[in-house]
């Protein structure tokens, strides 16, 4: 599903450069739920950005679903992102003047679907995250947990092969975080491949596999016994 070999990335800082990723090897199979952990500066966000095609590696191989990802033009990257990937951000990144339904339908717009079709699919996904009743509400009228659910629905809308979540629970309280994680687990059980960047141990423990990064290299890569996320009321 996802193959990464000897990935290197450095950023220029003034005259010198900062070597952020120093040869990462990572293989993820379909249906996995992987937590990428690490302290800040460990390179986990950079890795996620490269996987998300928002950034390009200096060196190494990246193959996503048999498609080698390299030398992307902006246009091609946009098409791949739309087709292969669903993004979930820490700060939700919903477009604040569009209502929930329109936000979810946005990736479908860029796929060139007809308006009717878009609405239909968006409604289906909103229902999946349990927010169909909130379809016409603006993000400012939703709670944090609801916003993240809308964001998840948006990430799912284009039926991507891989869900990328960058600290999806970073801006949420524990109860809501567990709620979101329970939902992501459910999605994973339905067969979605999910990559979660987090620095919270309890969140990582809810995944099936934990990859620990430190100073640009993988320190640990373990399959763990998944903790079921339960919402204790």
């Amino acid at each position: 599903m996802l193959k990464i070999q000897k990935l290197h990335k450095s950023y220029p800082i003034g005259d010198s450069s900062l070597h952020v990723l120093k040869g990462i090897d990572l293989f993820v199979e379909k249906g996995e739920m992987v937590a990428i952990m690490g302290s800040s500066g460990s390179g986990k966000s950079t890795l996620l950005n490269i996987i998300g095609m928002l950034d390009e590696a200096d060196e190494g191989k990246y193959i996503l679903d048999e498609v080698p990802i390299k030398n992307l033009t902006e246009k091609k990257a946009a098409v791949y992102r739309n087709k292969f990937l669903g993004f979930i951000f820490q700060s939700f990144n919903l477009i604040n003047y569009k209502n929930a339904l329109e936000n979810v339908a946005l990736p479908l717009y860029y796929q060139g679907l007809k308006r009717k079709k878009r609405q239909e699919i968006a409604k289906f996904h909103l229902q999946k995250v349990g927010l169909l009743d909130w379809a016409t509400h603006l993000p400012s009228e939703l709670s944090g947990g609801q916003k993240q659910r809308v964001a998840i629905a948006r990430a799912l809308a284009s039926n991507p092969k891989l869900l990328l979540a960058d600290e999806p629970t970073g801006a949420l309280d524990t109860t809501t975080s567990y709620d979101i994680m329970a939902f992501l687990q459910q999605l994973n059980n339905e067969g979605k491949t999910i990559l979660i960047v987090t620095h919270e141990k309890d969140i990582a423990a809810m995944c099936k596999r934990i990859v620990r990064l430190k100073d640009g290299v993988i320190m640990e890569d373990n399959f763990v016994k998944q903790v079921k996320a339960t919402v204790d009321v």
Partner: protein, 413 residues
């Protein structure tokens, strides 16, 4: 072009504009003001041109007046200072020999005391051919102008101006068929014409048949002056020079004697005025378009700021699969839409201004701005310029928007 008809495209435009109503409004004022100025100025310039045309409209502007003076050089045995008179026989010679002549109209003139009952006045009397009506259109209020029959039979008939009618006749009295006395000879009034706004040459008060004039003033075949009209495609200055040379030749005058014949070139004078009008129009376009460009730049500026504010949003969109082209297209559409809307508003309000101008200065006979208006083609040209400028200026923020990598746009602050 399909995207232009999609609801989402316009939803985007509406959203980004309505988020910043005040700033959008102020920016639109720039373009609105530019096109308003352009329309109002062009309309006013056109009004001025129309009013000039109305004043000169009664005259064949491609014409020259020629009269005899005195020689300033001795030639062929004649001393200088010889009095030069034009003769009727010259008329046909000019017509036959000079290229590009349309009409040659001989005219005579004298002063006469005009009497009717107990009212009298001294006016200029002109001996004229019917042809005069062709080059100086008379606006007849009553009756008719001199015709060939009057010429053939030396009829004692007179065409008088409205001024004379007002002075010699009672209000609403019918002057046609009435008699007026000139040099103790009775003339039947056959027509009354309206005085023009501008008189080229001597004032024209009374017109009588040329042949009648010859008879009562004993002019023989001498004529006072002649009006020569050139065909539109010929240069009147050349005709003037050719005519004078021919006349010198016919009258045994030194070929370089410039004082023997006097002339007034109406075409030349008219060209000065039209040149002035052309200059005005150029100035108008220049000012209008310069203002327009300033306004369009204001739109570019606001879009640039808007784009900066929306960096994150644009980053999100790109993460969701928007290609740079789609982002650029959206911003250019916004720019063009803004310029179009404010441009159309400017055209409408410019039209209102022209209506006001017409109400204030466009009414009546002595209106300074007659029918101040702009043609539809000018409006279309202005709109096309707006669209082009809007597109060009929209490209700046559009490229700015996509020059930021999505990863930088998305970076948490």
């Amino acid at each position: 072009m399909k995207f232009l008809f999609e609801r989402d495209t316009w939803q985007e435009v509406y959203d980004s504009m309505s988020k910043n109503k005040l700033r959008t409004g102020i920016t639109m004022v720039g373009v609105w003001w530019g096109i308003l100025l352009l329309i109002a100025l062009l309309g006013a310039a056109r009004g001025m041109e129309n009013s000039f045309n109305r004043i000169f409209g009664d005259f064949a502007t491609n014409s020259v007046f020629v009269w005899g003076q005195s020689t300033s050089m001795p030639f062929k045995g004649f001393q200088e200072g010889k009095r030069v008179r034009l003769k009727l026989s010259h008329v046909d010679k000019i017509k036959d020999n000079i290229e590009g002549i349309e009409f040659v109209v001989p005219r005579n003139r004298n002063q006469a005391l005009v009497v009717r009952n107990f009212l009298s006045g001294t006016y200029g009397v002109n001996g004229d051919y019917p042809l005069l009506d062709k080059i100086q259109k008379k606006k007849m209020i009553r009756g008719r102008f001199i015709n060939q029959n009057d010429i053939n039979y030396n009829k004692k008939v007179a065409v008088i101006s409205e001024d004379i009618y007002k002075q010699l006749f009672e209000k609403d009295e019918n002057p046609i068929g009435a008699y007026v006395q000139m040099n103790s000879i009775n003339f039947t009034v056959i027509g009354v014409f309206q005085n023009g706004n501008v008189n080229m040459g001597p004032t024209s008060d009374i017109h009588i048949p040329f042949t009648t004039f010859q008879q009562i003033y004993n002019e023989g075949d001498r004529i006072g002056w002649m009006v020569i009209t050139g065909k539109p495609e010929y240069n009147i200055k050349q005709i003037e020079a050719d005519t004078k040379l021919l006349l010198r030749n016919l009258n045994k005058i030194h070929p370089r004697d410039n004082r023997a014949f006097g002339s007034f070139n109406l075409g030349k004078e008219f060209a000065k005025i039209t040149g002035f009008l052309t200059g005005m129009q150029f100035l108008t376009w220049f000012v209008g378009i310069a203002t327009l460009i300033a306004g369009v730049f204001a739109i570019g500026n606001i879009l640039l700021i808007t784009v900066k504010e929306r960096t994150k949003e644009i980053g999100v969109r790109r993460a969701l699969g928007a290609t740079p082209f789609e982002i650029k297209r959206q911003i250019v559409v916004e720019a063009v839409f803004l310029t179009m809307i404010s441009g159309v508003l400017g055209i409408i309000s410019g039209g209102w201004i022209l209506i006001i101008i017409d109400k204030a200065w466009g009414q009546g006979d002595d209106a300074t701005l007659v029918n101040a208006s702009v043609s539809i083609s000018v409006v279309f040209i202005a709109l096309i310029i707006l669209v082009i400028l809007g597109t060009l200026i929209g490209l700046i923020p559009a490229f700015k928007a996509t020059s930021v990598k999505p990863i930088e746009a998305l970076r948490e602050e």
